[in-house]
Symmetry: C2
Subunit: 121 residues, 2 copies
């Protein structure tokens, strides 16, 4: 379920965070689901427990998960609202990227076509 790319320049803890969020968006992880325990995850993907802990702390901080000592790390009950507002926060980044692409000579239609393609899936 979780895969780490050691060649990537993206920090391992960040790869874990991004994958967890992606699994949430795609419905692989749902509200209340339990993530593998820190020690389980350690043996699953072969990274240090501290690195896993850092990832879980970050997920907690973002409201994606809620960790409870003794129980585990669980996907938030209101995860869809959390992801939605996170997405809204990324719209300025989206606009910046669009501006960059348009200014570089990419046609408007090329971008809207990509949106159509993604939406229709």
């Amino acid at each position: 379920m979780f895969r780490i790319d050691n060649q990537s320049r993206t920090p391992v803890f960040e790869q874990i965070v991004k994958q967890a969020e992606e699994y949430v968006r795609t419905g692989i992880l749902n509200p209340g689901d339990k993530l593998p325990s820190i020690r389980e995850m350690t043996s699953l993907i072969g990274v240090n427990p501290n690195t896993i802990q850092k990832a879980y702390n970050e997920l907690d901080r973002r409201g994606v998960t809620i960790s409870v000592a003794g129980k585990g790390c669980f996907i938030s009950k209101n995860i869809s609202e959390v992801m939605k507002s996170a997405a809204i926060g990324k719209l300025p980044e989206f606009e910046r990227l669009v501006k960059e692409l348009i200014d570089s000579g990419i046609a408007e239609k090329e971008l809207t076509d990509i949106i159509k393609k993604v939406s229709s899936k």
Copy 2:
């Protein structure tokens, strides 16, 4: 012309690269234009010459500029093709971002509206 944000987590050399590219896209910098010399830039924005050199090397590597010992660092003659193909290389990133936003509950129209807004400027 060049501004460095020391609070940003983005490396200084990368900030310089990004700003140079943005000035190119917006027509502030044009083919054949000369960038400030490394030593000039040092006093302009108060960072180490080595950091400027690193930024200029990266711009050269990307084909944005051509540095000539004794003369300076100049915007490439075929800069528009360079920027265009760089933009094409970023389309997968664009698609990933679109997918993430759509999956998070952002409406297709919200994204196309942003594209329209940016394009019409």
